[in-house]
């Protein structure tokens, strides 16, 4: 039943967007003109390629995010059973967060968290 509900949500969303775009495609007026299909840039013609290698700062944050997000996934099962396990779980999360915090401190000291 659950998988059917998920499938229903997916199909509903896809049909909503697809139907609306299809309707708009037929209902709306069309006209072709050279200036209209240019990227918007306040009226001046666009200069140079857009798809270039982007600022490295974004990738740096993406990598740090990846590390921490994977760590967060490990904490989910811990959080569910924390109450049952008790002291062992508490000591374990202390050790885990110490390692994680050292990682954050390292990134901080290496100036990876400073935007430039």
């Amino acid at each position: 039943m659950e998988s059917y509900s998920l499938l229903t949500f997916f199909l509903t969303a896809a049909l909503l967007v697809g139907g609306a775009i299809l309707f708009s495609h037929y209902a709306a007026p069309h006209s072709v003109n050279a200036a209209k299909s240019e990227p918007y840039e306040c009226g001046i013609p666009t200069e140079g390629p857009t798809w270039i290698q982007f600022h490295v700062g974004y990738y740096l944050f993406a990598i740090i995010y990846l590390i921490f997000d994977v760590e967060t996934v490990f904490i989910y099962p811990w959080a569910v059973v924390m109450r049952e396990i008790g002291l062992t779980a508490f000591v374990e999360i202390l050790i885990f967060f110490t390692v994680l915090g050292l990682g954050l401190l390292y990134a901080w000291k290496k100036k990876a968290l400073i935007w430039e």
Binding site: T50, W51, D69, Y76
Partner: protein
């Protein structure tokens, strides 16, 4: 008293006895889809209307007041107008990715809405990993945003998409960790069980100061995750025209706009469910007369009342705070929210260990 379970069960059993299993399944799927669609459309339109009215009030204006009494049909008129507008296609854009992006954004928000508990028994799916599911699905939206910006082949769009990506993935960590605090308190990721654990008091009251800290962090990070002001760098009107959806026109633009408001609703609904007791009424300890009166208000009203309150807070942020710079934004997340969050989680596990909560 106001349980939707029997109603849903009676519809399901009537379908099962009247039709063959295949048709019963199909009809219940269509019904679910129609209800979801109607809910999604009405909610989206009225959130936009509410935002315009509240923003107008805060800026000492009137806001929409021409179409219908008090302008209540303004957003419907806007929707019809957007449907009849031409879909402009950019010559150098990547046509496949350009068209697929609105699908991804809307699919992510509709699938997340499906698992929100609106009232007792009024929940399409009650997954045992509900919180994780919502986080996973709603983080798919950023892929749509990135694709939209990149495929447009416009400078403004690419800058907006990159900023949005950096911002959303950073703040997702804080959202997840703030919710983990409540998962640790409740000992479950299933929405129905989390709500059941709040019958004797909402977690924001039962959980002492750490729950408050988690709630504030969640609100800040949630506002950032929806790309709303003061964290609206991705679509900063004054510098990037409209950010990642600059090149989208007509109904495709409307879908990005709608998804932003629905994401705001999802964030507010999760805050309601985890911190503010979901559809449970407000109770004061051992004040039975008051509690009885509160019980008479249907759970649906409680849920939407609390959600509306959180949404109002988020709108208030947007129209009062100035926009942050990107270095301030990332510093706020990585140097303040994340360390505070980790400390908070340790504090909460200590409280649970010592049984120092109610």
């Amino acid at each position: 008293m106001y349980d939707f379970g029997p109603l849903v069960n009676s519809i399901t059993s009537w379908l099962d006895t009247t039709f063959s299993p295949f048709w019963a399944g199909l009809i219940s799927m269509v019904l679910l889809g129609l209800v979801l669609l109607a809910f999604y459309a009405v909610l989206g339109l009225y959130l936009v209307y509410a935002e315009r009215k509240i923003c107008a009030r805060m800026q000492n204006r009137l806001g929409p007041n021409r179409v219908g009494p008090g302008g209540v049909f303004q957003t419907i008129a806007d929707l019809i107008k957007l449907l009849m507008k031409e879909l402009i296609f950019i010559r150098n854009a990547d046509s496949f990715l350009f068209n697929i992006a609105p699908f991804i954004v809307i699919v992510a928000s509709i699938m997340a809405i499906g698992s929100i508990p609106f009232a007792k028994g009024l929940q399409a799916i009650d997954l045992n990993i509900g919180v994780l599911y919502i986080l996973a699905i709603s983080s798919m939206g950023v892929i749509g945003v990135l694709i939209a910006g990149w495929a447009s082949n416009s400078k403004y769009s690419v800058i907006g998409a990159m900023r949005s990506g950096a911002q959303v993935i950073s703040y997702e960590l804080s959202v997840g960790l703030a919710l983990l605090c409540i998962i640790a308190y409740a000992g479950s990721m299933q929405f129905s069980e989390i709500i059941a654990s709040q019958e004797d008091g909402w977690w924001i009251f039962k959980g002492h100061i750490p729950a408050w800290i988690a709630f504030v962090i969640y609100l800040v990070a949630g506002t950032a995750e929806t790309n709303r002001g003061p964290f609206d760098l991705a679509e900063a009107e004054s510098e990037l025209t409209a950010g990642f959806h600059t090149e989208y026109s007509g109904i495709k633009f409307a879908f990005f706009f709608l998804a932003e408001y629905m994401n705001m609703f999802i964030i507010a609904a999760i805050a309601t469910t985890l911190f503010l007791g979901g559809w449970l009424p407000f109770h004061i300890w051992h004040f039975d007369a008051f509690n009885k009166v509160m019980d008479y208000i249907p759970p649906v009203f409680w849920f939407f009342g609390k959600t509306a309150f959180v949404i109002y807070l988020m709108m208030w942020f947007k129209w009062t705070f100035p926009r942050l710079r990107i270095d301030q934004l990332l510093a706020l997340e990585w140097k303040y929210l994340l360390p505070i969050n980790l400390m908070n989680l340790i504090l909460i596990s200590f409280l649970i260990l010592m049984q120092w909560h109610f």
